[in-house]
Structure formats: C-alpha cells, structure tokens
Amino acid sequence: MRKEAQTDAMAVRGLVRRFGETTVLDGVDLRVAPGEIHALLGPNGAGKTTLVRILAGLADPTEGDVETVGTVSLVPSGDRTMYLRISGLENLIFFARLHGMRLRDARARSLEMLDQVGLADAARVPVRNYSHGMQKRLSVARALLVEPAVLLVDEATHDLDPEGAIRIRKLVGDLAGGGMAVLWTTQRIEEIREFADTVTFLASGRVRFNGTVAELIHQAPDPRYVVRVRNGHPDRPPQAVALQRALGGVAQISQSLAGRDQFVLATSEDQPLGAAVVALSEAGYHVLACQREGAEIEDAFMALVTEEPR
C-alpha cells in the first residue's frame, strides 16, 4: 500500500510495538512538518529509541502506519558507528556507494558534506583520531549524503561538551531552516528551548503531550523561587512567619536551607511573582535576589512523568 503524506514530511498513526507480552509503544501518533524541529522527550524506557528505530526502518511496528515523503536518515546515538581505521572521507564514500552512488558521485558528495559539517580539513584523517564532537558531525554528514526529507537525530548531544552540543544544534537548525524535517530525541530537556518548534512527550510507550515548547512549559506546576530578603536589621534577619503575614494570600513562603536570609516562594498562576515582590516591599522588606527554583521544562517533564496516563 503506497500512501502520500499530505503536508507533513512524516506522519505516524496508531503505532504499536510489542515484544512478547510487553507493549513498548502503545498507539503513538506524531506529525513532523517540513522545516520543523520536533523534539521527542521522555524518560528512560519510554519507547523513544524503539520509535526512532521503527522510523529509521530498523525494526517493524506491530500495528500502525508510518508515512514519509522522501528519504529518512538517522544520526544514531552511539559513537562507534563508523569504521575507525579508515578516514572520514572513506567512510562517507563507502556509505554513499551503499546508497547507490557511483564512486565519482560518492566522492564529490562526501567532500561536500564534510565541508558542510566543518570537517573538510580532517577528511583524510582516520576516524579513530576524531574527537567525540567530530565523530558526531561526521555522523550528521553521513545522514545528509542522500538529501533526506526527514532527519532522525537520536541523543546527538548527550555526551558532548557545551561547545560541541551548540555546534550540532546550530548545524541541525540550519538544515531545518532549509526545509528539512527533524525529529530530535534528547534527554537534555533544557536544550529544546529556543531550538525545537514542537514536542512529543512519551512515557510508558504512550504520548503524554504533543504541542509547542511554550505549551509544554505550561504543563509545569506553579513555579517556586528562591528569594533573598532583608529587613534592615543585619543581626535580626526576617522570619518566615512575618514574611507570610506580609504576603497574605499572594504567595506561600518558607525558610530555605540555603541561608538565614533565603526563602522559598511559591506563587500561583493568578498571583504572579511581581505581586509577591510588591507585597514584601510595601511591608518594608528588601528583595535582594530572586531565582527560579528548577527549570520550567524540567518541571513540566517531571509533571508529565508522574501524571497518570489518561
């Protein structure tokens, strides 16, 4: 059966994968549009890798449909997916020829891709001499050999230093800018802010959330802040009871273990942080610093992980 996906580069419907009695994926739906970076989040054992393996054609689904327009390429999570004894260029030529290219085309395309990922100078160096980051970029170059419509990126940055991770995200972001659909699997949840357009959150093989990053952040519980408060008496720091009296019903405050003048402030959606700071100021307290406790996406992640499946 041949199906044309309409506007999506990739559409997954009702995907089920069972291993014996265990259901690893349970009716997963997912859509990725051209030019979109779609983050796939979830705790360990959520089924992310199984889903990516099915989308890459490495495993078969038990039930469900996968439709893609154009070629799908995978950037695998492992480091050792290349032949370490031969050069990056020779690796790419080999894989390009397995994609059916003639030797001359394979060489030209490989050099082009090495240049695109910033490895032109290391083209003839054996891969065993590449750093982690270079190997990852070579992996991206290999995935681009066939001009994929969909790029599956499995945990590309989990073992990279910040500079290497930024470089990979920039590279993938540029590709998406050129119209490529990207499915970005990651455990580094904070990296999806200002990088991914949409998110699917998977837990126990089921989709718990599907939407934009902003919508995901809305899933986070009411935020908590660590505030430093002074009352003008250095020898008599403020007491939590007195601060709570000043706040009234605007927010909840409790002593922090971090220091005598530090407190944990819990606000709610209808009583924002500003109202709490104003209430404290009007009562004669000086709010010296305020920092969000935990990250919004991390909070949303934890909320979705602990949420009962609907």
Binding site: A59, V69, G70, P76
Partner: protein, 290 residues
C-alpha cells in the same frame, strides 16, 4: 490491524543508473573498504605470514621423517611429505578464511557498532554478508599463489604448471560448499551471539578429516566415511592430482561432480538457517544489538 511503512519520494541525487549493476557496485564498495582496513593493520599481516612460515618450517622437519612411499600416489607419482602437506595447508587456509568471513561478517559489524548504520542504507542483508566476505574471496587465488610460490622458491618444491587452471576451477567449485557451511555457522552466531568456539570445533573437524596433514587411509573407518563427504577432502585430492600428479583436466570433472551435490545441500541448508535466524532477529528487533 494495519501495519504499513511507506517512504514516498524521489530517489536521492547522484544515484547510479549506469551500466554497472548497483549490487556489484556495492560489493566493490565493500572490497575497497576492506582493502583499506586491511592495509591499516600492516603488523598483523606480517605476523600472519611469519606464523605461516614457521608452520611450514615445522612441517618440513617432520617431512624428513616420512618416506614418500608411505604417502598415496598422485597421477602415479610419489610425492614428498612437504608437497603433500602444503597443498592440504593451502586449501585449509583458504577454507578457514572463507568460513570465518562468511560466518562472522554480520557479527563483526554488530560488535564494532556499524551494523545498524549499514541497515539504514538500501542494502539487503545478503549483500552486506556477501560484501563483507568479497575481498577475502577475491584474495584466495592471490594468497594461494603467493603461498605455493614461496614454497617453490624457498623449499624447492615443483608443481605442474598445467595444473594451475584446473586447480582454480576446483577451488571455485568448493566455494559454494564453504559458503553454505559458513551460512549455517552465521545463523548460529547471529542467533546465539557467541559461536566462535563452535566454529573453531567445526573448522578443526573439517581439517582433521580432510587428509590435509596425513593420508585419509590412516584414519579410523568412521572418520574415513566422513572424509569422503568432506568438501575439503575432495578439493585437496583434486589439487594434489592437478598440481603434483600432473593429471591436468583429467580428474577435474570427477571432483566437480563430487562437489556439486554437497554444494546444493550445504547452500540449501545454510540459506534456510540464515533466513530463519534473520527473521527471528527482525521480529525481535535485535539484529543490531550484541
């Protein structure tokens, strides 16, 4: 229940529509890869040659204890033990390399972590398997030529040159047999992950009953029965007839007729076992794991 995986769209740019069939071009890519990897292990290649030379030296001294009259005749000619044993060694060396390559090619890709990357390309598992052994197969005549040539040069052994072509034909005829046996071993290794021990026992049993190191006639009766259907025995006898006995093409047909049914049986069984093993791995989604 509905299951479908559709990948729709244009083929990538640069795809070959040229005269060379894509499958052969892919095999050529494997050969290029393996030659380059082999060249990166220069020390290992030197060590292999040295080990082989030491083995030949040991056998040459043993050969001084064995009178040619105690060995079978080939083409009505008595040969020295060195001539007798080096043909056996050459065929066994070829068989061991071929069996190892066929049996462990997928496993090796699993172990170094490249199998899933290979499976992401539009390449059939059979092509991966054949491709990984292709360079070894192509190198067989070269290896045998160098080995026997070095023996002629350094140990003064002489061969009938008109037996070279018939020998190549016999070697070509034994490759399907070894391929079939290799597929059976590959099926076991893909399924059980570890099978090198069993493969060692298998290749040793083949070598023992092949008559490579001593005449089949000195073996116990039941092993002689096994030896009669051992493809190595047939090939070694054929090469000795052609290269030592000078029988030329006379006995080649007989050896090919002996090898043909063995090829059919081993390739048939090997293909079946390997298919079943792959089907099981795909069903479990574990082909890329080790």
């Amino acid at each position: 229940m509905s299951v479908s995986v559709d990948r729709v769209g244009p083929r990538p740019a640069g795809l070959s529509t040229a005269a060379l069939p894509v499958g052969i071009a892919k095999l050529a890519a494997f050969v290029r890869r393996d030659v380059r990897i082999t060249l990166s292990y220069r020390t290992s290649a030197v060590a292999t040659v040295l080990g082989l030379l030491l083995q030949v030296l040991v056998l040459s001294w043993i050969g001084k204890l064995i009178r040619p009259s105690e060995l079978p005749e080939f083409g009505g000619v008595h040969v020295s033990y060195m001539e007798f044993v080096t043909i056996g060694m050459a065929v066994n060396m070829m068989a061991a390399i071929l069996l190892y390559q066929v049996a462990t090619s997928l496993r090796n890709e699993q172990m170094i972590g490249t199998l899933e990357s290979l499976l992401c390309t539009p390449t059939a598992v059979w092509t991966l398997q054949l491709g990984s052994a292709a360079s070894s197969i192509l190198a067989i005549p070269l290896r045998l030529g160098v080995f026997l040539g070095a023996l002629a040069l350094f140990f003064g052994m002489s061969y009938h040159l008109d037996g070279v072509l018939p020998s190549i034909v016999i070697i070509a005829a034994i490759v399907p047999c070894l391929w079939g046996i290799g597929l059976m071993l590959a099926a076991a290794i893909v399924t059980f992950r570890r099978g090198h021990g069993a493969m060692g026992v298998g290749t040793a049993a083949l070598a023992l009953s092949s008559g490579a190191f001593f005449p089949v006639g000195v073996l116990p009766g039941w092993i002689q029965s096994v030896a009669n259907v051992n493809p190595l025995t047939i090939a070694i006898r054929g090469l000795r007839d052609a290269l030592l006995g000078g029988t030329g093409w006379a006995s080649v047909g007989t050896h090919i007729v002996e090898l043909a049914p063995l090829s059919i049986v081993t390739v048939g069984l090997g293909t079946l076992a390997f298919r079943l093993a792959l089907k099981r791995e795909r069903r479990n989604g574990t082909l890329g794991t080790y």
